[in-house]
């Protein structure tokens, strides 16, 4: 199943076919892929930073990640702090 994360298509691989994909599953796979793309140990050792998330343009709180399903072509936006005026 394909979903969009931060504007880029990502294929989710189902581990347990009985259960639906949840936001937490998608994030877990996304972070694993991102970390594996970072080749050096320094990057691997970096702590996962704080972020906030929206699913299809709607805010999803951290306590909802494990209970919110994602469906094909859903769009996740992962936002982090940046300077602003």
């Amino acid at each position: 199943m394909n979903i969009i994360i931060n504007g880029q298509t990502m294929q989710l691989i189902k581990v347990n076919t009985l259960n639906a994909f949840m936001v937490s599953d998608a994030l877990g796979q996304y972070f694993c892929e991102q970390i594996s793309e970072q080749s050096n140990e320094h990057q691997l050792a970096k702590k996962q930073p704080s972020f906030a998330l929206a699913l299809n343009g709607n805010f999803i709180g951290k306590d909802e990640y494990a209970s919110t399903p994602v469906r094909p072509n859903d769009s996740l936006d992962i936002l982090l702090p940046i300077q602003g005026g």
Partner: protein, 264 residues
Amino acid sequence: MPLTIYGEKLASRLLIGSALYPSPEIMKKAILASGSQVITLSLKRQNPVGNSGAQIWQYIQEIVAQMNGFLLPNTAGCKSAKEAVTLAKMSRELFQTDWIKLEVIGDDYNLQPDPIELLQAAEQLISDGFKVLPYCTDDLVLCQRLYDLGCQVIMPWASPIGTGKGLMNPYNLETIRLRLPDATLILDAGIGKPSDACIAMEMGFDGVLLNSAIALADNPVVMASAFAGAIKSGEQAYVAGLMTTRQTAHPSTPTLDTPFWHQV
């Protein structure tokens, strides 16, 4: 007298942005030099692993701790009430604050706020417990509506964001001050010079929010200090009471017994 924003008393009347500085180090020094206790920041799509904004975020956290200050997240880039409400909720979770600088842009050319979407977003956010600081145009009725909704702080623009053109419509701003005497008014956007900020404070504005004028100066640290001084001067002038302007000249030096003086 301190500036009060939603019950929080602040020593400085300058609210400062964290963008556009030549480096994170200069940003930190400039903000500290400004004396501001309110720092604006934003959220953006980023790769969470090894993200480049981590250092900025770390510096901002250090500054806030050092200044006993407050974060003011914005909804920059939003073009609808729905987008702004979503981004505000994301900011609240991440930054742990109910404060939100509400921006809903209606035109890409001058980044002018969309008054219709702004009001809708403000209403939704207030009902959801947010403390809304709306960035708006210098339209009196719009400001009144925002205040009536429950926005204790209103932030009309001086001129479009990043232009540095200063106060385009002083009459509008003076009228907003006159008609909303109990609102906390912060002049936001378009300020180019310390004298612009000083004029706003002389009008009776409660504070000034700016970013580009400091960050894009040749020396942002010195400029931050200059703005702090200008805002303080303007505030003192407003409290002291400006003299009334007069149409005709009046000699400052007493004319009685002036030598060689002859009344015409």
